[in-house]
Subunit: 394 residues, 2 copies
Amino acid sequence: MPTAQYRPLDTGHGRPAQSSVLRGAHGGKLRALCPKTANSRRIFVCVLLLMMLLVYVVWCAVANYTDDGRADTYTTSDLFDSKQTTELPSISCTESFVDTRLYIQDKSRQEWNNLSMIYFVTPTYPRREQVPELTRLAYTLLHVPRIHWIVANDYNACNPYLDILLNKFGIPFTHLSSPMPERFHNSKSKPRGVSNRRAAMQWLRQRNITSGVLYFGDDDNTYDLKLFSEIRETKIVSMFPVGLIASYGISGPVVRKGKVVGFLDSWVAGRRWPVDMAGFAVSLAYMAEYPNASMPFKPGYEEDYFLRSVALTLDKIEPKGNNCTEILVWHTQTKNHPREAVKISQEYLDNRSNLGALFKALNEMGVSEACEEEGNKAIISSNGKAKALSYYLS
Amino acid sequence: MPTAQYRPLDTGHGRPAQSSVLRGAHGGKLRALCPKTANSRRIFVCVLLLMMLLVYVVWCAVANYTDDGRADTYTTSDLFDSKQTTELPSISCTESFVDTRLYIQDKSRQEWNNLSMIYFVTPTYPRREQVPELTRLAYTLLHVPRIHWIVANDYNACNPYLDILLNKFGIPFTHLSSPMPERFHNSKSKPRGVSNRRAAMQWLRQRNITSGVLYFGDDDNTYDLKLFSEIRETKIVSMFPVGLIASYGISGPVVRKGKVVGFLDSWVAGRRWPVDMAGFAVSLAYMAEYPNASMPFKPGYEEDYFLRSVALTLDKIEPKGNNCTEILVWHTQTKNHPREAVKISQEYLDNRSNLGALFKALNEMGVSEACEEEGNKAIISSNGKAKALSYYLS
């Protein structure tokens, strides 16, 4: 997601220093320093020009440095070096190609069989909100015919709880374990979701899936059902506005006479494709022509470099959503709260009450954890008064 | 929602002062102040006792003051005075009893006809995230048979955009305009959602709806579909755990031998029913016996006083979700961002491009607004460079 911290140095930065030099030239003290002879004047001008050249070179170098993202832990080789992801290879945990739904929207499932498939890639990571987010998203996807949900989890193992959860919905799905490379764990701005999406692309290639549409849909976004019927017909790359992005509340293509001519997005930063991850879909037939298509580990530039890697040009873009006048996807964000421990003695987590099974479920879902020694002391009350646990359970 | 700011004075507050007095009594200086004769000693003890009594009385008064909520703008009469809400009466904007869905889950709609009705009350208020939140929630509710969605908007008029939106889904619904009384607009902690839920209850009474189940479901929560089949059979009041509440990550009943015996919730604060708004459902047949059932304008105490107003007792509670061991509803919260203006000249919002229609839609949905004079300047870029709007549009 584009955030202010990746903005390259503003091109106006040089101006204040320059103008103060000009102001100084009008002052009396500087005039005294002026060379008196014609020769020394010539030398002075040369030195001045050389200094300006030096300043310009240094400035360009600094600007490039920031633009390449080398200031952080990212190297240029990170951009597309797929070998780097093998630090911790992604694993395909479960694949299910069976659609158990009988009816989708107002038709039986069979009636939709002629539609092309949408591969909906959802990067996710373990946190308190993971299970509800995936549940809520699943209830939207349940209305979508011909969809394969690729859930790529930023975790170094297959989470059996996620498998059970995803299986329950009846949507065809693939559960991948795709941890972020270790070297980014301590970086200020983590390239979240990249190894997940790379793993999904790898999975599609390994299975030689070269028809249908690829869409990157985060677990906390909101999708209008119309989005799916719009992107399903993508020939090359389709684009559409995304609501709730940054200060404008919107990011999306500017369309004139049915053609995309530019982009409305408050953060340009040299991005040729200043779009949100949820703002485009790609045909897999088209992607098959670019076997090296990938996504960089460079926060803020994932979309841009991915679209560069499939050799996108303005004329290839298909505007959707009534020529980009409708908002069919929203960058809704869910508040994150850290996982906390609840201090409760193990002796109360037996079958005398629901507490044992409840905390077992909470732990499996990564919501909270019952601890003997630390955490927020478990308070149980009745009639407005907290009492010792033994009062209820002994 | 219970938050720390409503916590009454902690009962342990007196302790540090007391112990410092004790420490003082061991010091040399205080000993010098001790009365020497028996009579003066008796007077000294009496004065000491009187002072302690005074401290106790003052402390009790302060505690009561906070507990009653009189410290804020709330008066005791607010608690259930329904006349107060007539400051700005709620309006029923649109009612639709038609269910246009053909299939729900894996059955035709008719097959569900014998189920009792769930009245799902959603308080909402105008903000950037309102349209996506209601859209996402609707896609969950679309899977629920026999539901009537009461959407009560904290706005002093009927919002036509909401009407069109709600109509689109095909779920029976009622759109109410139910603004919060003016006098709370400047209060520190606004009693949000109260006039909305009161309006919904008033609507149910006016239509003499005395069968089915009432459930208060906020627009940003996440609901497992199993929740609906569980609460549908509520005879009096059913209760179940709510995930992601405060520090425990959970709030819910403690169940022993199939009976609710207490509540696990980190914030007690004298609440007889320390539960979340999404943690219970009420039978409308039962509620009909309590025509004065209402909800107070008292942040943090809405659930408690509402359940008191229907004369709830522990033995009336029906635990759901496999004896309160499953989490079927989550208090997911969406990040709120303020609505901002986008600075763009009106001349570019014509039919030369999609920008006119796009900003019209954004304005109707309350996301952002195009302004001539102020706001974040609209940047349109192509090939990584921002250019003047006239470049694209003239």
